[in-house]
Amino acid sequence: MARRPRNIVYDVNDKLPTSLLVGMGVQHCLTMSSTLVLAVILVGIVGGTSAEAHNLVRLSMIAAGIGTILQSLNRGPVGSGYLCPNLIGPAFMPASLLAVSAGGMSVLHGMVLLTGLFQAVLSRFVHKLRTLLPPEVTGVIVAMVGMSLVPVGVSNLVGLGGVDDVSEPAEVVLGVATLAIMFALTVWGRGSLRLYSVLIGVAAGYALQAVLGLRTDLEGLDWSELPLFAPPTPHLPTELRFDMAIAIPFLIAGLASLVKAIGDLSTAQKINDDSWVSPDMTSIRRGVLADALAVVSAGLIGGMAQSTSSSNVGVSLATGVTSRRVGFSAGTIFIACAFFPAVSTIFVVIGDPVKGAVLIFAACFMIVTGLQLVMTRLLDARKIFVVGAAIVAGLSVDMLPGVYSNVPAALGAIATSSFSFATVVAIVLNLIFRIGISNRAVLVLRWGDNPPEAVAAFMHEQGGAWGARVDVVRRATGALVEFVDVAAPIDRADGQIRINARFDGLYLDLYLLYGGAPIELPEVPPAPERAALDEATLRALSGYLIRTAASEVETTKRGDLNMIHLRFVH
């Protein structure tokens, strides 16, 4: 049963007062808007007008809102049921630039639609990806998503985002002040101050931005000509075109975005449950389909490709409000704002430094959450290289921008995205390093061995090779130490102790074969004080500790030997 973490004020199933629901929705919309500038940049690169950029922004907002609502659905085949909003997916930017250059917006929207359909098909097989994406891989992906926000976050923070290549002191002041307010409210704020830390920070940022007279990304837009209400102009489905020559970059971006969605949804599950041990793949499968449908809707109406928002998951963790109802609220508000040009423009004129503050705020939580996910597993040399090499690969993209400039265009989507590169490296290395790992291991103890030392070393080595959960390995080791130390030491077992271990990701099974008299595994502990008095009571206590350490216990005979089967649910 899920255990609510102490820092969660409203968890995934909670209902909120209406005012809070709206406030949280607006807060998440502000975070979802952090990548709307990509639409402005894309249109700017191909020489489009401000009005065209604004239209693309509004259509993308509708697609993001649809995806956010679908993701929050808790019943049926679509939606994880978690608060995991959508936004314009940065991973699609390189492929989007290729598409627009190749054939304009028609090709972009056609390829986005194709990618969404590809993701929808892949979503049916997500449950088979558990081997491909163990927690240490999803953890490094989540951490890498956070790290990939650092270049754009810091650039924006100091006023170098979007089309601006000059950092002014006033911009640095704006960015740092906004970030400081968010940090302070999250750390020291109580009640509403903590809940609205991002919203208050952004509002303060807007105010300070106006006071400082700083520029925005829509300088050419005449505010006075904006109608109060006007639907955006969708791209008609009949105008869609496809260019298979650029299919690979889109499919790679789609795959990377799908893996990111798995990471974000795993994080959303984990932050709602203190007893979380591994991803609920059924919920994730439905969530990946919701994300895919967001991309499909973007393609159909003429928006930019969507992905799940790690920043928003970070904001929900920081504020302690993870209710899925906030997803419904944020999605609805974001869609509604797309029909009010002046309102939707507010999301785009958010200053770069304020945007940067939001991104860095969210990056902090994503990086640490991802690393925490990695550290839930025992890491042997294999796992260390998977995690380490992925981080090195990802960081190299951002730290050495030109080093991959000569890769083929088809691989551009990977080589120009720190997150995508890290993901590919982590998945490929994990597969390669699985060579030579058996899911079975045997330890035979002999006269002269130090049994507790031997079993502890055995479990540590195997646990690391299998990437097993630290707590499960510790519990199993404790049971084995108890067995060889007190219950059936090697002299009482006639010198015969053999331990067969088996691990399949769902269970850790230990088969203890030993000679001598069978040991008792009482279901009730002896009175603690009596353990000091006699050996028989001590062995009864030992047997009880062995029984209670495991999820299931079975005793039997195998030939001349006694056998105890201990099963630990992983």
């Binding site: 507790p452 707590d471 130490v481 130390d485 007190v486 030491p489 603690p528 001590l538």
Partner: protein, 112 residues
């Protein structure tokens, strides 16, 4: 390996690794030495103990009884989650005074 620290009249002992039957008997010997040298209050810092078997539990219990017989105290501190679970499952959590840190345990010890 055993680390030792004196805080006033309190002996703080910090065993390392596992408290299994072999290590526990060695630890018992160390406690006896402190008793003979006049120690009355001992804090056992279990921060660096990964595993404790029932043999380890028994040694702690016997040591506590020896100290109590001389009007002394034995308290424990800094148990990790797994070790704490062993104490709770076995019922030993009700026998010992268990603290989160060395400071808390030393503060609770009787003053000279």
């Amino acid at each position: 390996m055993l680390y030792e620290q004196r805080r006033g009249n309190v002996y703080v002992l910090r065993p390392q690794g596992r408290l299994d039957s072999v290590a526990a008997e060695e630890f018992r010997g160390e406690i006896d030495l402190r008793l003979k040298s006049g120690a009355a209050d001992i804090v056992v810092d279990l921060e660096n103990i990964d595993y404790i078997s029932s043999a380890g539990l028994r040694v702690l219990l016997v040591s506590a009884k020896s100290l109590n017989a001389k009007s002394g105290t034995l308290s424990l501190c800094a148990l990790n989650d797994h070790v704490r679970e062993v104490f709770e499952v076995s019922g030993f959590v009700t026998i010992f005074s268990i603290f989160d840190s060395v400071d808390e345990a030393c503060d609770a010890a009787p003053k000279e």
